[in-house]
Amino acid sequence: MLKLKKLLKTYRTGDQALKSIDLEVPEGQVLALIGPSGAGKSTMIRCINRLVEPTSGEVWLGDTELTRLGATALRKARREMGMIFQEYALVERLTVMENVLSGRLGYVGFWRSVLRRFPQSDVDEAFRLLDRVGLLEMADKRADELSGGQRQRVGICRALIQNPKVLLVDEPTASLDPKTSRQIMRLICELCAERGLAAIINIHDVALAQMFVQRVVGLRFGAIEFDGDPTALTPDVLTTIYGAEDWEATIAVVEDEDEPEAVV
């Protein structure tokens, strides 16, 4: 489904952010990417949809190799990759609806998007998604009137309305409180399951990752140090990823308690 081959990124400053990454994500798999700050998690995700240009290597999405695409073909390919951001990255002065519909920009023409005349099917789908995340009444609010958790839900709708094959998720919970973090992670994972979507989720919170995903990849200094089942994350493994610390408290022992899906 998504395959990285010898993906390498060296920034102009000489920093090697990614050192020959090989990774394969099968269809429908949700994968958490963990690692310390500066390990290259963000760079890796951005090299996939080329918000950051990789230095060398290949990225395969289905049968398409992305790193050599021209501008138009890249736009077409980006439509298939939904992205969710750390600080939500909603366009704050646009309404919630405009933010969600902006996920369709790759499919509609220039004038339609300027005049906000999106096809009825797109509008319907936007309402359906907003309803799914419990924000139907917020459609006409401006994005900066929403709380953090609500904004991230809008961010999720914007990614999903692209009808993507894969979700690239960059620290979705980094600016949220613990409870909202869980709700957002659960929502992302549920939606991936509903739609059979593959996802790569960058995440700081190891326990949170273990709670929700099927596979964990640990990145350190731009290289993969761990790749396996979340239960296989032992203190020794975390030490190889993050460096020495007392890890007992970090590893999830709690079962995810079933709180009602409150709208935050």
Binding site: R93, S102, L105, G106, F110
Partner: protein
């Protein structure tokens, strides 16, 4: 306590000076003060001329107590209408041209060659003062509001493009990045990712420029570029200070109204 800390404790702390080298620092300060004193001494004041002029100044100021709106009313009205037409027409054209140039002059939006061209246009427009442009355009197009309209449009481009470009350069990158990640084309990226972020400032600056253009239109008449300035100039030439005062009062009132409106609009678009 470590030795390094021991040495610091009990000592006053001062912010490190901007220029580290003390000799250089004091030379710069001393040199600037000396220059300032010398500069003031070179400005000559002809006190007897000032004494004569006080009289004329007083008459001018006193005219404001008895402004004459009536005797030249048709001239004032025609001049004012011409000024307002010039202002509105030039502001709209200037703003419309400024937006693409402002986009081109923002390094994070435009490729280097376009950036250079647009920055060049901005630099030329800003380097040429309105009066100089107006004199040139009056020479080309003759007396009248056409020269004034073109001058103000030209000046608006330099002002607005530069400030718009700076606002675009300091926008939130991630919001724009998110739009790019959806597969939007460049034009859609601008409309959805960039413009909403700079819109309040663009509107605020546009109204401010409308205000400036109106005030400028009063000056441009002095060099023959039409508008209320021409009427004002005539009033001065005839020593009709009461008519001049009336014109100035109208200009002040209109500028104050514009200021008030711009305050309301800016508060609403934030």
């Amino acid at each position: 306590m470590s030795a390094a800390l021991q040495a610091k404790v009990g000592q006053q702390w001062k912010r490190p000076p901007f220029v580290r080298n003390a000799t250089l620092r004091w030379t710069l300060i001393g040199g600037f003060v000396a220059y300032l004193i010398a500069a003031y001494f070179t400005i000559e004041v002809n006190w007897s001329r000032v004494y004569e002029g006080l009289d004329r100044g007083a008459r001018f100021v006193l005219a404001f107590t008895s402004p004459d709106f009536v005797s030249r009313w048709t001239d004032i009205r025609d001049g004012m209408i011409e000024s307002i037409i010039m202002t509105v027409a030039a502001s709209v054209v200037g703003i419309l041209i400024s937006i693409p140039i402002g986009l081109g002059a923002a390094r994070n939006v435009a490729p280097l060659p376009i950036y250079m061209i647009c920055r060049g246009i901005v630099a030329v427009s800003r380097a040429l003062q309105e009066i100089i442009v107006a004199i040139l355009l009056v020479a080309i197009f003759g007396f009248g509001p056409l020269a004034g309209f073109l001058t103000l449009s030209f000046a608006t481009i330099g002002f607005l493009s530069k400030l718009l470009a700076e606002d675009i350069e300091s926008m939130d990158k991630v919001q724009a990045e998110a739009i790019r990640a959806t597969g939007a084309r460049w034009s859609q990226w601008i409309i959805y990712g960039v413009l909403p972020q700079v819109m309040p400032r663009l509107i605020g600056l546009s109204i401010y420029r409308l205000d400036i253009n109106f005030r400028e239109s009063a000056i441009l008449g002095l060099v023959g570029a039409g508008g209320i300035g021409a009427t004002l100039n005539t009033a001065f030439d005839r020593y009709e200070y009461d008519t001049a005062a009336a014109i100035l009062i109208i200009i002040i009132v209109i500028v104050m109204i514009l200021e008030y409106i711009s305050g309301i609009v800016r508060a609403r678009v934030q």
